[in-house]
Amino acid sequence: MSQSMKTKYGKKKKVRVIKPIKAVITSAYQLNDTEINELKSKFPLMGTYEVENIINPAIHAGVIINVGTKRIDLSLERGLQNLKQFIYENS
């Protein structure tokens, strides 16, 4: 995101506004505070960031945590994909 800003010379200059980092938790249902706190305690990388909970029923169960460029996938969907891959490679 960028917005215009006047410099001391009176010229307009575009500056980039950096969004604050959020910890995004994707789950199949709405997480309550206890569950979010439990996740925060389990995953220190979430730190004190603001938490956003996104609902995606396609992951069936479990959670996906995104913090900046880091991602922790603990979803049942991922488990099924791993199982599929395992069957492909070992059958």
Binding site: L45, R71, L74, L76, L80, L83, K84, I87
Partner: protein, 169 residues
Amino acid sequence: MEQFGLDIKLLIAQVTNFLIFLFIFKKFISKPFGNYIANEKKKENEKEKMMKELSERYEKMKEEEKKWQLGMQKEKEAILSETAKIAERLKNDTLAQTKKDSEEILAKAEKQISNERQTLYDDLKRKTVDLSTYMVERGLREYLTEDVQRNLTNHIVNKLGKDVSKYEN
């Protein structure tokens, strides 16, 4: 002379007549005819000599032709023999090349069949796995109520060890 019945004048005239005749005969008949005969004989000899030469030359040519024919025959046989050898070698080379080509084609076809079989097998395996996971997902969708999802999520989170960094990517 008269007693013998000879007339001397007549005798002299006859002798003179004979001498004149002899002179004329020798001068105008005998000599040119002799020359003519000699010329003819000479020509005949030359003809005979020429005929002999021609005959010898003919014999010589005949002999040379015979030799040439013999040489040609030998050359022809050598060429035929060489051609037969070359043809045999070409035939063997062609057969060997054809055999090699056919073996390569066969090997290629076998490899292709094997690849296609593997592709079919992989495709079938992929479809089977896809179908299985689809059925599992569909079953899960019907089975997973919010409570079950919550319990499952708690179970997943709780079963993680202390070191959770291995799940990061």
